[in-house]
Subunit: 267 residues, 2 copies
Amino acid sequence: MIGELEIDSSTERVGEGVHALSLSPRWGLDDGRLNGGYQLAVALRALAAEVPMPDPVVASATFLRPAMPGPARVRTEVVRAGRRLATGTARLVQYGADGAERDVLRLEATFADLAASPADPHDLTSPPDLPPFDACRVFGGDDAPATAAPVSRRVRFAAPELPGWARGAPSGDPRAEFWFAFADGSDATLLDLAFVVDGAAPVVLDLGRGSSTVQLTVHLRERPAPGPLRCRTVTQHLAHGLHEEDVEVWDSAGALVAQSRQLALLL
Amino acid sequence: MIGELEIDSSTERVGEGVHALSLSPRWGLDDGRLNGGYQLAVALRALAAEVPMPDPVVASATFLRPAMPGPARVRTEVVRAGRRLATGTARLVQYGADGAERDVLRLEATFADLAASPADPHDLTSPPDLPPFDACRVFGGDDAPATAAPVSRRVRFAAPELPGWARGAPSGDPRAEFWFAFADGSDATLLDLAFVVDGAAPVVLDLGRGSSTVQLTVHLRERPAPGPLRCRTVTQHLAHGLHEEDVEVWDSAGALVAQSRQLALLL
């Protein structure tokens, strides 16, 4: 099945390297702005349609202005296409009150053909040790309160217990381990992982702080096997009103499929 | 004192946002190509001269073609200047046999004013537990063999023992902990850290493999205190002929000053 994310991040090619869409309110946060991972998925999908290699392996995005539901374009440029790798850039733009285009997000991404070489993994990581998805406390999706942000109805998380911040008692420990699944039951594609790594609430909520992403780089390492994904999130360092957040994602077969790091403003 | 890196990465402004320099062979690798961290420092320093905020806090670079000693330009663009952050892009270009400009490196970086807010750090990291610099085995700098790459004479590393690969016996464990100092005795600036995180040999050499950087993102978190820096490098994941490498850097006061992650091609 084609998932909600793929539907809502698909674009129409309206010119040389130019793609148009209406950003969907289904991926909105509490205040109406759109989730950063959704913006990244939109820009990356448009760029993927232009670059002559199938699999994004690294994507790096700077978030410049809030993205809002409604008309947007993605302006892409293929920068270099080599034998093993191809690189392009994309700008997600929306329109000011004066009708002028303004950059919302800038993306640079490099693509490869993962099927052209064996995985032959050498891996020092290990996925979180979690009970099965259905044995966990599930939150989000249809279980999200009616007042919850729209994006929280698109995804389902599962963990032995709710995060401290969600119970009104921030734990003081900015780490989390949980299952991730799309609420519509679709399986995540390689490209979808660019959303997944920014799809959960920031773990600095467990320090009693909010957060707004400045820059995010994600490595997309393997097309995920079907089924829910296991995620580990940690913020190791806050200083000068900025913090990093690392996310690792493993598929149902235990393969590391994505690693991300973001720098974000503390609110 | 002004260090060799600052001297060799300084540019002349020759037009609106355009900077010129001759890339120095002093930062060359074995095969004459230039070290990636040096390229990054060049592009970031030129961009820093254009952006109306003093401190780069995140820089993200894609390495498109080999950089060679000789004429180069950095073409910069300030993308957004806000109250707390300012973002710009830079392209390091050199010239093909036909005289045409070709992108060597593309950079996007965001700047802040670190002195405008207290550090107030919250830190889960801890620096490597190393004997004092001078109690370690020192390599590089004046101790580098006459046949060593020029860049290895610019830097000094210190660790209890040489890496396995340097003794002709790759350890099989892609991790390293070591001291870093510039061979000329200069102290690293915040911007210099963008070189430091790509200034050491890749740890996949201890798996018997070579490496070529595709994309590198570095968070620059604190102006380093004077003195040598402690570094930890690890490659956690290789697959499909690509690997990541994470580097963390602490200053002499024990503060985490930089974190980087790169995706690189295995050779």
